[in-house]
């Protein structure tokens, strides 16, 4: 499992955006982040899973907002004006990730990444791609593509 986690990483250094969700810290590849913006109320979607907060208008495009806390299996967020939306590209789609705050921009190399320990949680196995230890903090590197699998049937 761990070897799979590490082999997806490119050589050399890379930049990540770190953010807080609940009391944990996560990070994603900066290349997938389009912009960061403040929270605006979303229009709820019918028949949507709990972690889909709804959709907002991003300069004319309809952008779904994902409560990352709920998506990662933690408590549902109660968004305030202080919450932040990370607009990210996930495969062909653009989604907004609701997080508590953006904490850091990290430049790391392969050596900084530790493999994900063998734990039983399926959810974590799916999205966690490594763990970073930075300033005594633990930051979990997640892969957005794995969080939001695209169904082939939707392509039609």
């Amino acid at each position: 499992m761990s070897s799979f986690a590490v082999k997806n990483l490119a050589q050399g250094s890379r930049e990540l955006i770190a953010f807080r969700v609940g009391d944990q810290e996560f990070c994603v590849n900066i290349m997938s982040v389009r912009e960061i913006r403040g929270w605006t109320p979303a229009t709820p979607m019918p028949h949507a899973p709990a972690y889909v907060m709804g959709v907002i208008n991003l300069r004319g495009a309809v952008l779904p907002i994902i409560d990352l806390s709920a998506r990662l299996g933690m408590a549902e967020a109660e968004p305030t004006a202080r919450h932040v939306i990370i607009v990210a590209q996930v495969k062909s789609k653009v989604v907004g990730l609701l997080v508590e705050a953006v904490s850091d921009i990290l430049t790391i190399t392969e050596e900084n990444i530790q493999p994900v320990p063998e734990i039983s949680s399926d959810l974590e196995k799916q999205y966690a791609r490594g763990i970073l230890a930075i300033d005594k903090r633990m930051i979990c590197m997640i892969e957005l593509d794995a969080l939001f699998p695209e169904k082939e049937s939707e392509a039609a």
Binding site: P41, A42, T43, P44, M45, P46, H47, A48, P49, V52, G54, V55, I56, N57, R59, G60, A61, V62, L63, P64, I66, R71, K93, V94, V95, D122, L123, Q126, F148, P149, E150, K151, S153, E154
Partner: protein, 762 residues
């Protein structure tokens, strides 16, 4: 601009030419005998050939050439465009289209088919009528064509005019080795009169004549009758014509090939000598003219000089005026008679014709679709922004009389107008799609051995390009179905006392802001017994279900339904009418069928004119703002408590003018609230769904009516059952557009399965 871009333009033009070709052939098929139609068809093939030659697309060129040759026989009235002939030609047009797309996208085509057609075309060009079995090379049939074949039996060469021959040696080298061997040459009378366009396009009469001389023994006379007096002469006009007598073993087509790129800019007449002799000749005084001198420019005979200078002066204005004047004056002196006025009148007429043709073609420009889409998106933003601005002004200025308000109203009108105009850019006639269908009918009918005629109506009805692009597929499927299942075999039709040739009618028209496409066949209609049985077999309905005829007919739209007994190549490949229905629905359209046993069926599709905007009613449901497409709403009403009747455990009906209509709480269907709202506190929207039934949709309040810009939910999210799309309202928030049909279907008990692409799989 690199070669690929130029090639891309060529292919785009090919598409247009192919469309032109097909529509022309279809017109001929319908009995149109306008020479202009024949010309248009010929021109289309000719242009494709010309372009293909420039890109070295040899397959395309050779096929187009044979096709062109045959068309030319039609053009010169040697070949009667009968149904049989046109059948071959339509097939050739299909093959030509295949060749074009093969050249564009790579990949091959069915070579045996194109070879067979080449044979048929050649046979036609040689005066043979097509045999009954179209796929085999036709056997020589009685010569029905009015004129003899171009490569005729040997004719003794005979001088046709007083000038006599000046034999010019030539070789056969460089000519195609596929020429049919002709024993001896025939004598052709060729009249060649360039127009000024010929010179202005950089063609040179002398070079054409020289090429011609290489085909055989040739004598040439210059016709200078049209030459006006010097003071009346236009230095860039064309005054000379040539009368050529050519003895050659080549066919008339080879002669015409010489003039290939000049043909549209000259009057060219090629006929066999004996025909020519019987024809009344143009009044002209032949001037003996020896072409041999063309090969040796140093010889300065007067005639030659006249010809040369006349040609030169028109090709380029660079020739000194003095020199021109002298030589032309000399030539003028030799021409004993001048038919100035006649020539001038003819020239004027030709110019008028050209002008009229240009006007008819209209002025168009080719624009990249992306640019148009970008413009449409921007205008969409503008509309939203304008609405937002209006709203905030209204909020801050309650009186509504300020100059700002007035200006805003004008702005609103302007944006609306801009939007309409931009949308109009994308509007296209449905013609190309309809034309494609005629090909499908031909091919499928051939495959299943049926005789079917496709009649199209209203093909100039305009609709947004995206709609056009997207209806092609479902329409193709329906046409295949109609041919395969709808129309019966000729024997069955005859037994039923019908015309053995079936008719499929495809029509388009605008109706109340939508486009209505109808597909009617005069086949056997839906076999309700079989449909019912099949539906029972496939567990679609219960064995004892009590269904109306209409309901049975509509069963064919259910998933997993195919009535064909055996799976054929053409239809019934597991994709049924349910796929058609879904793709129509995805376009915001509706489809229904009506069928009369023994008389045929009619499929009716109603589609929005554009996929970009929609007139909607903005309503509130459980605190959420929703947009209901206005086209779906029949009426709105405020229900009274006395009109609401409970029906069973959870159903409620509303009585409207003594009929009962199920009440659907939109808030419940969309899961906005857990319990049903009190109907008396809300508003009922009476909607008509595509199944025909009426439903009363309960909403809490109506906010207003407005045009909204449709935004895709699927782009970033996923399809949501009950929701057609999203839009952005004046306050900048997203509002969802209700999918009325889906909501109605849900109320019928059909489940709305959420398809979640963003859902966790773990």
């Amino acid at each position: 601009m690199d070669m690929n871009e130029i090639k891309e333009i060529f292919f785009q033009e090919c598409e247009e030419q192919l469309a032109e070709l097909e529509s022309g052939l279809l017109k001929l098929n319908d009995g149109d005998r306008d020479p202009e139609t024949v010309n248009a068809v010929f021109r289309a093939v000719h242009s494709i050939k010309g372009g293909a030659g420039a890109f070295g697309l040899d397959d395309l060129v050779s096929f187009a050439h044979v096709f062109e040759t045959t068309l030319d026989c039609v053009r010169s009235n040697k070949l009667e465009p009968t149904q049989d002939v046109l059948k071959v030609m339509l097939k050739s047009a299909d093959v030509l289209a295949d060749l074009v797309s093969a050249s564009r996208d790579g990949g091959g085509i069915d070579e045996s088919r194109s070879r067979a057609l080449v044979k048929e075309l050649e046979a036609l060009a040689h005066g043979e009528m097509p045999s009954a079995s179209a796929h085999e090379a036709p056997k020589p049939a009685p010569k029905a064509a009015p004129a003899p074949a171009p490569v005729a039996k040997a004719e003794p060469p005979k001088p046709t005019d007083e000038s006599g021959f000046q034999p010019i040696p030539f070789t056969f080298d460089g000519f195609g080795d596929d020429e049919e061997p002709a024993l001896e040459g025939s004598v052709y009378e060729i009249t060649f009169k360039p127009r000024r366009e010929l010179y202005s396009k950089g063609n040179e009469a002398a070079l054409l004549l020289r090429d011609l001389s290489r085909l055989g023994d040739m004598s040439i006379n210059c016709d200078m009758d049209a030459l006006p007096a010097l003071d009346k002469m236009d230095p860039e006009a064309s005054y000379f014509g040539w009368k050529i007598s050519l003895k050659t073993v080549k066919s008339e087509d080879d002669i015409r090939t010489v003039f290939e790129f000049a043909e549209w800019d000259c009057d060219l007449d090629v006929k066999l000598a004996e025909e020519a002799a019987s024809d009344e000749e143009l009044p002209m005084i032949p001037v003996p003219f020896d072409l041999g001198i063309l090969d040796e420019p140093s010889i300065s005979e007067e005639e030659e000089k006249a010809v040369q200078s006349s040609a030169d002066e028109t090709v380029a204005a660079a020739v000194s005026a003095a020199e021109t004047a002298t030589s032309v004056a000399k030539a003028a002196g030799r021409a004993s008679e001048k038919k100035e006025s006649a020539a001038a009148a003819a020239a004027a007429a030709a110019q008028n014709n050209a002008a009229a043709a240009a006007a008819a073609a209209g002025q168009t420009i080719r624009v990249d679709l992306d640019r148009v889409d970008r413009l449409i998106n921007l205008v969409g933003e503008l509309v939203i922004n304008q609405a937002m601005l209006s709203q905030s002004v209204v909020e801050n200025d309650a009186t509504g009389t300020s100059a700002v308000n007035m200006g805003l109203e004008e702005l609103q009108q302007l944006t609306r107008e801009i939007q309409d105009s931009v949308m109009a850019i994308r509007a296209q006639p449905v013609k190309p799609v309809f034309q494609r269908m005629s090909r499908i009918v031909r091919e499928v009918a051939d495959m299943v051995g049926k005789q079917i005629r496709l009649v199209t109506e209203g093909e100039n009805t305009e609709v947004d390009k995206t709609v056009i692009d997207k209806i092609a597929e479902p329409l193709t499927h329906m046409i295949r179905n109609a041919v395969d299942h709808g129309i019966e075999s000729p024997e069955k039709r005859e037994a039923a006392g019908k015309d053995p040739e079936g008719t499929i009618k495809l029509s388009a028209k605008h109706r109340s802001g939508r486009i209505l496409i109808e597909l009617t066949d005069d086949g056997g209609g839906i076999n309700r017994e079989r449909v019912r049985q099949k539906a029972i077999d496939n567990d679609i309905i219960a064995a004892d279900a009590n269904l109306s005829d209409d309901e049975i007919d509509n069963l064919i739209f259910m998933a997993g339904f195919s009535t064909a007994d055996k799976i054929s190549d053409i239809s019934g490949r597991g994709v049924g009418m349910d796929v058609v229905k879904r793709s129509i629905q995805a376009l915001g359209g509706r489809i229904s069928i009506s069928s009369r046993p023994g008389l045929g069926s009619t499929f009716t599709m109603s589609l929005p004119l554009t996929l970009a905007v929609l007139d909607g009613m903005v309503v509130t449901v459980a605190g959420q703002t929703l947009v209901v497409p206005l086209t779906a709403i029949v009426e709105t009403l405020q229900p009274e408590a006395s009109a609401i009747h409970s029906f069973g455990a959870s159903q409620r009906l509303i009585s409207i003018r003594n009929s009962f209509c199920p009440l659907v709480d939109v808030g419940r269907v969309l899961n906005y609230r857990a319990t049903q709202a009190n109907p008396v506190e809300g508003v009922a929207l009476l909607v008509e769904s595509e199944g025909g039934g009426q439903r009363a949709l309960m909403v809490d309040a109506i906010q207003g009516q407005r045009q909204v810009v449709i935004k895709s939910l699927e782009a970033n999210y996923t399809h949501v059952p009950g929701i057609a799309a999203a839009t952005i309202l004046g306050d900048g928030r997203v509002a969802l557009i209700l999918d009325v049909d889906a909501v109605v279907a849900a109320s019928r008990g059909q489940s709305m399965k959420p398809e979640m692409s963003l859902a966790a799989t773990g």
